[in-house]
Structure formats: structure tokens, C-alpha cells
């Protein structure tokens, strides 16, 4: 239902922007509003540099809106896929040599990436995250649950390996993670963080 709704909205936006040829600013604004947050999140992960991600974000919307105005899309329901590909191509084409993707290390981009820990607000946020996690750990009922979370979130071990080592069922593993996420969400909300 969720995906159908999304594809229907996407097809409608593509149709309106193409037919409007630049005059349906409401549709173009809606396109940006709808995809902006997700696109920026993806680009920040990809680029590892907020300033570069902001530039790519703007450029992606410019390219996509121009394309929709001129030619529309063959498969209008795949608007998200088109935005995704455009953003990736822009990054790969023009910026790959400047900053490597964050998950591949940041050595080449060291000079360009601001230090998040240097920002007192960021530092406070990180300290709060650590404090909430300590509280969460303290509330866990068993050492085994703690081990599951340590191994998944810190050592980043695979679920299958953790389950095999600790003789756990997949269901038990999922339940521990689900409860931890839920509790963390509650703690964040009570701390005033979304």
C-alpha cells in the first residue's frame, strides 16, 4: 500500500511537471519537499562532506526538474529511482576524485571535511547518545542481551554468527534488537530528540 501510494504520487508529479513546462511551480516545490530530506541524507553518506552534499543536492534537483519539464519520464512511477541514479551519477562523474565515499575511508578528503567533534553542539549530542546507550544497557535484563547488542552494534558481527555462538533463535535475536531500538526511541523522545 505504501509503495503504491508513493508510485501514484510520483507519477502524478512527473505528469504535472512535464505538462506545466516550468509553470507548475507547486508541483516542482512538492517534488523538492517530498524528496529533499532523503536525497540529502543519501548524499551526505555518499560524499562524506556536508558542503559537497548540499551542492550535489541542489544540482540533482536542477537536472531532474529540467529533464521532467522537457521530456518527462518513460516510467513515471520510478521517479525515486531516477532521482537516485541522477544523484549518484553526478557524484561519480564530477566529484569522485575530490572526496571518496565515507564508507571507503576519508583520507583523501581529510582537509575538506570539518571535524564534527570540534562543534560543541555535536560533541554534546554525542555525549548524550553515549549516556542514553549506557542507560539502555543498564536496563537490560540479562548479560546475554547485552552481549547480543555489543556484538551487533560494536563488533558489527553478523546475526547468523551471533545466533550460532549464543545458541539463539532468529526470533529471540530480533526481539532483543527490536526492544532495544524501541527503548532507545523512547529515551530519545523523553530527551526531546526525534
Amino acid at each position: 500500500l505504501l509503495e503504491r501510494t508513493e508510485t501514484e504520487v510520483a507519477a502524478e508529479l512527473v505528469r504535472r511537471i512535464h505538462q506545466g513546462k516550468g509553470r507548475d511551480t507547486a508541483a516542482e516545490t512538492e517534488l523538492v519537499r517530498r524528496y529533499s530530506r532523503g536525497l540529502l541524507y543519501m548524499l551526505r553518506r555518499m560524499a562524506g562532506d556536508p558542503a559537497l552534499a548540499d551542492d550535489l543536492h541542489q544540482e540533482t534537483f536542477r537536472v531532474v526538474i529540467e529533464r521532467l519539464r522537457e521530456r518527462g519520464l518513460e516510467d513515471p512511477e520510478r521517479l525515486a529511482g531516477f532521482l537516485h541514479r541522477t544523484a549518484k551519477n553526478l557524484f561519480i562523474g564530477g566529484y569522485r576524485k575530490v572526496v571518496r565515499r565515507k564508507t571507503e575511508g576519508e583520507v583523501e578528503g581529510l582537509e575538506a571535511v570539518p571535524d564534527p567533534a570540534a562543534d560543541p553542539h555535536q560533541r554534546a549530542v554525542r555525549e548524550e547518545e553515549s549516556a542514553l546507550v549506557r542507560r539502555l544497557i543498564g536496563e537490560l535484563e540479562t548479560d546475554r542481551d547485552r552481549q547480543i547488542l555489543y556484538r551487533f552494534y560494536i563488533a558489527e558481527e553478523d546475526k547468523e554468527r551471533i545466533c550460532a555462538d549464543l545458541d539463539l533463535s532468529s526470533l529471540h535475536f530480533n526481539r532483543v534488537l527490536f526492544r532495544a531500538r524501541q527503548r532507545f526511541k523512547d529515551l530519545l523522545e523523553s530527551a526531546g530528540v526525534r
Binding site: 525515486a80 581529510l110 571535524d115 560494536i154
Partner: protein, 307 residues
């Protein structure tokens, strides 16, 4: 990395939030464990899904919180390990404790002193022999016309005695310095055997801006000698071991080789505060490839303030 069983089934299934939750897709995405195809599919989904964006944000915070908490614990543990010898001493019985401490002191401090004593004794005996020989020569009745060889022998004996006396004085000075150093170290040893509480821990993130900026991290040096722990956060460790160099005003203060990152991708270094004076410090981390020269990986700065 292909996650057989989880990711394959997830790829085959409908992109709905129940599957995303049960298959831990957000966590695996953040850990970089989805295949490129899986990552693309999830990215296309969350581009317009506020719920998944919230989910990703929380997953990121949770993982970061765990890692930070673990890094803090690891740094504390490193401080405890650093004092492991003294802790082990503390666990022994009092007599064994004293015995071991005396043995350690013997090896480090007393042995050079004893060697100096032996050398001093040898030189003392030589000096005495020389003096006796000189006295015997002086007690002999003075010859009417002393032959030249006798005068030469006397002068040679006197020179030997003077040299031995100078050497004796030098060794006595050396012995005094040894005694003084031993007293200082005994005091430090006694202090180090006391448990250290509230060990200062400084978590450092790599400097990313251009050099020359003021250090953002500060640490206040404790009034009494002790340890501080530097926890150096590495972005993406690529090497098995690292070399860490501590510099002040371009001068190397300390260097450690063969350091391995812990499970939270950090290097923990415990330093005696006696090594630090108030001022700005640079910590240079270099990756050490097998059989190659270490290359720069990250640089950290901090300012030490007077306690």
C-alpha cells in the same frame, strides 16, 4: 558483503517496514553490509519515506552511542592495564610484595650502584697500595745522590695515586646521584602503587581543518603525577598496526610502534603526566603496512593546561 539468508530474502520480499525492521536493513545499510543492489533499493525507498529516515537517524545514533560508550570503557581499561604491574603487586601478600619490589629495585637501581661500589673498592685498594709503596719509598734513607730512575718511579707512583683519587671522587659523585635517583623513584613507586581514581581520559577526533588552528581539545594536568589516557578515533582503520608520535613544538616527546586499534576502531594510549607540560601537542598517527614505511593516517591536537 553478501548476507546470505537475510539479504536475499529481503531482496525477494516486498519493501515494507515490517521486513525492513525484522531484517535490520537500516543497521546493515549503515554498517555497509548490504550489497550495492540492496543499498540502491533501500536508498530509493527512503528517498521519500520519512519513517525510514527517522529509523536511520535513530539507528545511527544508537550505533554511535554504543561505540562511544565502548571507546570510553576501553580507554579506562587501558589505563587500568597500564598500571597492571602495580595492581599485580598490590594483590600479592605483603611479604611477597616487598620481596618483588625489592627485587625490581635491585635490578633497576641497586645493581648499578653495587657495580660502582665494586669499582670504587678496586680503585681504593689500588690507591692504598700506591700510597703504601710511596710511604715505603719515603721511609728509606735518602741517598746521597738520588739516582734518576728512583725520582721517576716516585713521580709515576704519585701520578697514579692522583689519578686514582680523581676516579674515586668521580665514582663517589656518581654513587650519590644514583642514591638520589633511587629515592625519587622509590617515592614514585610508592605513589604508583596507590589506586588511581578519576584518570583523565581525552577522546580525540582527527583534525580535518588545515593546520595552524587552535586545538579544540583541552586537558587539565593533574596536580600530582599520574596517568592520562588518549583515545584516538580512527575513521576507517586499514592497517593492522599503527605508529603514534607525540610532538610538542615540532619536537618528538614520545613514540609508540605496533599499536593495534581496538574493536571500536580507536587507539588508546596511556601517558604518564610527567611527560607533559602545559602547552599544545600534536599526536601523529601513521599506518604501518607490512614490510613498508609508515604513512600518515590522521593527526590530532590537544592543549594541556596547568592543573
Amino acid at each position: 558483503m553478501m548476507r546470505l539468508g537475510v539479504a536475499e530474502s529481503w531482496m525477494e520480499r516486498e519493501m515494507d517496514h515490517e521486513n525492513i525492521e525484522n531484517d535490520h536493513v537500516a543497521d546493515l545499510y549503515l554498517q555497509g553490509k548490504l550489497t550495492p543492489e540492496e543499498a540502491d533499493r533501500f536508498e530509493e525507498h527512503y528517498l521519500s519515506c520519512q519513517e525510514c529516515l527517522d529509523r536511520l537517524g535513530r539507528a545511527e545514533r544508537l550505533a554511535r552511542g554504543f561505540k562511544r560508550a565502548a571507546a570510553e570503557d576501553a580507554a579506562r581499561l587501558a589505563a587500568v592495564r597500564q598500571a597492571g604491574f602495580f595492581a599485580a603487586l598490590a594483590r600479592l601478600g605483603r611479604s611477597r610484595q616487598a620481596g618483588l619490589a625489592v627485587a625490581a629495585l635491585f635490578m633497576v637501581l641497586l645493581l648499578p650502584g653495587i657495580l660502582a661500589y665494586r669499582e670504587l673498592g678496586r680503585l681504593g685498594q689500588e690507591l692504598d697500595r700506591t700510597r703504601e709503596a710511596l710511604a715505603r719509598e719515603q721511609e728509606k734513607p735518602a741517598p746521597a745522590a738520588p739516582s734518576t730512575p728512583t725520582v721517576v718511579e716516585d713521580r709515576a707512583a704519585l701520578e697514579r695515586a692522583q689519578r686514582a683519587e680523581a676516579e674515586r671522587q668521580r665514582l663517589e659523585g656518581e654513587l650519590e646521584r644514583e642514591r638520589s635517583a633511587r629515592a625519587g623513584l622509590e617515592k614514585d613507586l610508592a605513589q604508583a602503587r596507590q589506586p588511581q581514581t578519576n584518570t583523565p581520559i581525552l577522546s580525540l577526533s582527527p583534525e580535518r581543518s588545515a593546520g595552524g588552528a587552535e586545538p579544540t581539545h583541552q586537558i587539565r594536568l593533574p596536580a600530582t603525577p599520574g596517568w592520562i589516557v588518549l583515545s584516538l578515533e580512527l575513521d576507517a582503520p586499514e592497517f593492522e598496526t599503527y605508529q603514534v608520535t607525540l610532538l610538542r613544538a615540532g619536537q618528538e616527546i614520545w613514540r609508540g610502534n605496533g599499536l593495534e586499534p581496538n574493536e571500536t576502531d580507536s587507539l588508546s594510549v596511556s601517558l604518564p603526566t610527567a611527560l607533559l607540560n602545559p602547552g599544545d601537542y600534536v599526536v601523529r598517527v601513521e599506518g604501518a603496512p607490512a614490510g613498508g614505511r609508515p604513512g600518515p593516517v590522521a593527526q590530532f591536537t590537544f592543549r594541556a593546561l596547568k592543573g
